[in-house]
């Protein structure tokens, strides 16, 4: 995988949201949702982004897609810096980058038929002169996409409420595929689904990747789902990436104390293993991202914290080959 070209390059991405107390007042405080994130996604791989709610996973994906205007940093998609791109350039770039959202109930327009929802990206590109397609071509394409994601083409004229959650997620996936993108940003695409449906959708993601050579940025909070889909995994905590490594290394040998705790907290569906497991139970809750800390963000909950962690911020550095971690246990402060 390492010889493949870098498709997405995120550098120093920051997304701060102002907290306004009154309509005209100037923002004094910020939510530091994403506070300096760097990573690369290579063509054909799946980078899993995992973390608890409020850690900034979804904000990262949305800031990459320019649904939010990032506070700072650059996002390169195939050499083009999206943060500085013009409206027209950005539209053209979106052909290569599509999103699948978490809630299949909220992300489909209830007044459009399944066929129209899937055709919409093509129609938008046709209208803005970036693509040529006749009405018949669009129809064919929609039918072909529906069969690809496992929906019968006879459902084309049905409305979203006539579909189950899993089928709706298939419509969302077909829509994301409509423009033949290279990169798909998947924001918790299976967390709203039942177990038996979840495995169907995960398999669909894998099959589509094999067939079209897709690249995924796959966000989930479920560690076992991330393990199943990812080639590499990045763990986020409070707006920062704390560890990033090949999936098998990260699960076999987690380095950051937070990753260790996350892995030990996730239940395993086997009573024999559960009975023997030693859990690292973290104390307290994830703190609010409303202030920037001088030290490590994980300091308050870390079972292995040292004096230095309170004063200085660790940075993401290689501790082992292809295994980066942001923790003073592995490298001395500068």
């Amino acid at each position: 995988m390492s010889d493949h070209k870098v498709l997405l390059d995120v550098r120093g991405l920051k997304m701060h949201f102002p907290i306004r107390t009154g309509f005209f007042s100037k923002a004094k405080n910020f939510i530091y949702a994403v506070d300096g994130v760097d990573f690369q996604v290579r063509k054909g791989e799946t980078l899993g982004l995992v973390g608890e709610s409020g850690c900034g996973k979804s904000t990262t994906a949305r800031a990459i897609a320019q649904l939010y205007k990032p506070t700072a940093g650059e996002v390169y998609l195939d050499k083009l810096d999206l943060t500085k791109a013009s409206g027209q350039e950005l539209l053209a770039a979106r052909k290569n980058m599509q999103m699948v959202f978490q809630d299949p109930y909220a992300s489909l327009n209830p007044r459009m038929t399944a066929g129209d929802i899937i055709a919409e990206p093509i129609r938008i590109f046709k209208k803005s002169g970036l693509m040529e397609a006749s009405k018949d071509e669009i129809d064919d394409r929609v039918e072909q996409l529906m069969e690809k994601v496992g929906l019968s083409r006879f459902f084309k004229n049905r409305y979203p409420h006539e579909f189950s959650g899993g089928q709706r997620q298939r419509i969302g996936i077909a829509r994301a595929l409509a423009l033949n993108p290279e990169l798909i940003l998947c924001d918790e695409p299976v967390s709203a689904l039942d177990v038996s449906i979840q495995s169907q959708i995960l398999n669909l993601f894998k099959d589509l990747q094999d067939e079209f050579g897709l690249t995924y940025l796959f966000i989930a909070h479920d560690l076992s789902v991330i393990k199943y889909v990812s080639t590499r995994v990045a763990v986020m905590y409070l707006g920062l990436i704390v560890e990033i490594a090949d999936a098998k290394d990260l699960y076999k040998k987690p380095l950051h104390p937070y990753t260790e705790a996350l892995l030990s907290a996730a239940p395993i569906p086997d009573p024999k293993i559960e009975a023997k497991r030693q859990r690292i139970i973290l104390t307290g809750d994830v703190p609010s991202p409303d202030k920037q800390r001088p030290g490590c963000n994980f300091y308050d909950r870390c079972p292995k914290h040292m004096d230095i962690c309170k004063r200085a911020r660790p940075s993401l550095k290689e501790a082992e080959p292809r295994h980066q971690v942001s923790c003073f246990l592995y490298h001395k402060p500068e």
């Binding site: 038996s196 789902v225 999936a247 907290a265 996730a266 239940p267 395993i268 569906p269 139970i281």
Partner: protein, 330 residues
Amino acid sequence: MSDEVILQVKDLKTYFTVDEGVVKAVDGVSFDLRRGETLGIVGESGSGKSVTNLSVINLIPTPPGKIAGGQVLFHGKDIFAMSSGEIREIRGNKISMIFQDPMTSLNPFLRISTQMVETIVLHQGLSSEEAKKKAIEMLKLAGIPAPEKRIDQYPHQFSGGMRQRVMIAMALSCNPEILIADEPTSALDVTIQAQILELMQELTHRLGTAVILITHSLGVVAGMCDTICVMYAGRIVERGRTEAIFETPRHPYTMGLIRSVPRLDQEAKGRLYSIPGQPPNVIDLPDCCPFYPRCEKAMDICKKKYPPVVSFDNDQSASCWLYTKEARNV
């Protein structure tokens, strides 16, 4: 866990009448709960897990809902035959509940103290000062720091995990014999889920409370429960001791469910197993096995009649034609 059965559910049927027909949300569910036992009810959305447990404490909204048949015996007394006064004595006192979303089950306008003291005064006949002392003690047990101060705060001043701790403290404040926990950790993050599950396990063991734990997560039942019931389309399709269910699942649905979860402790290889199709709509279900359209092992008879319950050694049982004489004769 002792052998004394404190709750018996016998052939419970709860139906809802809607415009499209009759929804048989729960259609003939039976199980026993022993003192101190932790029973897990697993199933996917719409399988009838929550309705079963709302029926147990007679909280089904009527209409549209209706208890169409069956009995729920608490210490041998039928809950459906009790007066509303008698049920109120039991509900929240002998049998208490925790729901999935702690924000919607706490009253946002009232301080935690008001809500907790009310329950304790009502059920235990303590004075309000004594009740407040007891409430503080329970909050402390539930791991809430500085309970003397926190008790006078409002629910929005607590985080999600802390609210669930308050709910647990509240539910256990009357020393109930049974705690019904309906997806208590599904809204919480993994690290907080681990905290809350550990807390529930520790407190209920200490107080000797029996627990009915409703969840869709196989991982959670594996770590928490003594026995498991697997529900599908309003019925229990398999039951048994937790180890037995995971080691030798008998019903094809249980087998499929266990195989379709990606595992943290195993290498990801190839495709995940997946059960084809969708769970059925429970409106006007035909009288056959509701799982047969998705079942790998479906036979002719599965389309015709609902399978009987087949018992195996070690207390396991499953509703499936595979293990009956009819199947062997085919």
